[in-house]
Amino acid sequence: MADKTIKNPLRKRILRDIRKEKGKYISIFLFLTFMISIVSGMLVTSLSMMHTYDDGIETYKLEDGHFSTNSEISVADLQKIADQTDSGTAKATIYKQYFYNFDYTFEGNSNYSIRLYENREALNTYSVFEGHAPEKDGELAIDRLFAENNNLKIGDTLTFDGKDLTICGTVAVPDYSCLFENNSDSMFSATTFTTGFVTADYFKEFSESKLTYSFAYHFSDRSLDDRASYDASTNLMNTLSKQLAPQGNYLTDFLMRQNNKAISFTREDMDGDTNSTIMMLYIMIALLAFIFALMTFSTIEAEAGAIGTLRASGYTKGEIIRHYMAAPTYVFLAAAVIGNIGGYTCFRKFMEDMYYHSYSLPVFKVVWNANAFLLTTVIPIAILLVINYLALRSMLGLSPLNFLRHDLSKRKKKHVTKLPNFKFLTRFRIRTILQNRSNYITMAIGILMANILFIFSASMLPILNDQTDNVLDHLIANYQYTLKAPVELDDSSAEKYCLTALADDDGKEVLVYGIADNSKYLTQVSMPTEKGDIIISKSFMKLNNYKVGDTIKIVEKYGDKEYSFRIAGSFNYPAAFSVFMSIDNYNDTFGKDADYFTGYFSDKALDDLDDSFIYSTMGPSDYSKLSDQMNDSMGRMMPLMKYLSLIIFVIVIYLLSKIVLEKNAESISLTKILGYNNREIGKIYIISTAIAVLVSVAISLPLSTVILKTMIVYLFRTFDIWLENVHIGTSIYVQVVIWDIVCYGLLSFLQYKKIRKIPMEEALKNRE
């Protein structure tokens, strides 16, 4: 008798199985490695950046919020008001943070603007990438990303407000990690907008007309969570509103950190990117787990006799399941290890470049992240194991006798599907498709995913451009000037209007317009005369499912006043969620004088209007910020997604068509013995798979469209945009079909090669 020192000998065949099926395993391995590399690279980068970002709240002493006043008020006076605020332990310290807004022309383009601050030392301090902070008059530090986007170097000069300033450094500013010029903007613009910093002395030398009296606050209690900080900010805002009013002062802006897109967008976007990428990874892993299970099913069918013998000899179901799960698990583990290495090396750099190309982030340090490892490795392997285990448990739950008799059908009664009297070859193909339906269903799911990804990557930027065109086509006027105070103009083409920003129940910004009677600009609808009746933009109507006749409530953003209006009609104005009323009703509703107005509509630039009276100007280029920025930010990601979709398509079809051929190897061999040639056999099996592919592609197109339209509408809502029509161009569908046909065409050569290789002896061996 020998000592019992034998390890399970079945282990020895795991590597041999992988070698035997190397085509399948290598393709899955490469795909998984690629996927895990991307996701791990993205996660490591974004989690490291988020870590740096979170640390930056204290490191750079990020504000808890800021506000602006209509006139100059001393910090001491504001501090006194703040100290009266009942905010529990959250005592706010007020900091002066005045800024100038300058528009300027750069390289012939007049759409540039800079927000100029004096150097910061106490709050919202910045990190210097290159050069140094301004030390003397005429020196200017600007945003690193803006400099990069405009190819500006240290020593270059920017001219605004009649002064030439020399760039001395590029910086990342914590309260502008995302370069939103205005919080109401749908998208940031890191190409045309930058923050700038000059010395405190030099700051005083700019035109006061462009000065905004802005203040930032910082709570002393650093243990406040987001909710508590938000509540404390609300208390501060209410106290300031009340206490400033008696002196005729008021807040022109109040923005708490949680609502400030320039601060929160970066983190939310990284969070969103991370979540959607992880979700995509998990869906892909689930699909691959099914493919692995189908591969194993086909191996089990081939090895049924041996499995029956092993089970009859006393091998437990668990031992057999573990054995058949081993190869996919090892391949997956190898892909996870190499994928993570790839993620930390190659793809991290790619993702880092991508994030740095979108956001003004401070220098970050890559930290090994257990969470990234958990999300990219532990959870995917758990998904793989669970799906494989459940699938195999069901199949290997059959009795040893079933295996010995090669009777692996779960259903006791085998139904033979009756087919119409088609030609023999057609019936043969239909039978092949029916026999392999689980493979073809999995293939259809894979094709659907690949096509969703392809259509998304190809259609996203055109949809953005369509939306911009839609906005531009439906502008009330080419230019909207907002004034600091009413100023009369001689130009008769300009038309007065009133505007204020309120919010709906969900806190979403709503622009409220007062329109002149018989407006030259807004001609699609006439304003209702009844007080309290309004016309609303279709986008706002759709967003909240409003109907004509509904009464809606709109509230002050920085106060506690509420207004109720009845919807009298709507029209297409996609630029912003807006409501419109006559200018008389507007002034009456908001308690303004009858001749009050806040700005001008004009189809041409109003050169007569003195810059010092203009608070802001919205021209056509301002409406294309979203598409410009998204084109810039997503431009790198979209081709990657397109390649990924094609890889998914090829791998799914390659693996599943291979399984179908292997499963039918004996039948193919037998048909060869009967005298069929390879071409005839190809006509049966390759065309069966081709039919399945074509049907899957045909089904996937409308299904992808429905799924994508829902996804894209949801995505745009996060940018405060309601998409009226998501139009996916016919050319994109044509591209999908062509790519799918080309890929399948190439794969059918591999299938034909495989058919040719199946020997006639295949039918003769293992005959039992």
Binding site: K4, A306, A312, S313, Y315
Partner: protein, 232 residues
Amino acid sequence: MFLQINNLEKFYGEKDNRVQVLKGLSTGIEKGEICVLLGPSGSGKSTLLNIIGGIESYDKGEIIINGAAMSAMNEKQTTLYRREHLGYVFQFYNLIPNLTVKENIEVGAYLGSNPLDVDDLLHTLGLWEHKDKIPSQLSGGQQQRTSIGRAIVKNPDLLLCDEPTGALDYNTSKDILKLIEDVNRKYGNTIIIVTHNDAIKLMADRVIKLRDGMIRKEYTNETKTPAMELDW
């Protein structure tokens, strides 16, 4: 008795399609005996073997092996019983295609708490020179030897052989039967052979002839004929 079978009944199908394949069989087999189950196709011999092997259930009666009643065993215990006490040989060798001869035998050795020495066994089986070959490089006889090696390496109390020579030619069949005989002599296992080859009954200690689910005849051989002297 090492193996006791009492009033064993087995049905297939349900309702109108219900067919009785074993009709109240009772018999017993002593430890160390070679028992040959003979009968035409459909007589119930393979069903009986599978029930003894615990891979098929029965409807009435009882089987007691070495004092343990099979009816009292649940699925786990049945697997354990097979693992510890049974070796199986089938007409088709069911070897694992990408394991070598030695590794295929180790697949059986892994299950036993006190397995035989694999190298010794390879010599006994006449497979030493072929130990590193994979099944597709072997003849049918060599493959069946390997499957016998896999079944006996864990030194089972009971070796069940279902048509072990059914796929082999005359000479190879005799070689295999001699091997079974040698194994029985050397290791003392109880062996049940299912066959429809009437000549094999001569090498058995006990012969049970089945027809239509019933024992038609059962007897012990006073003198056994060595396997190599069998003729058919």
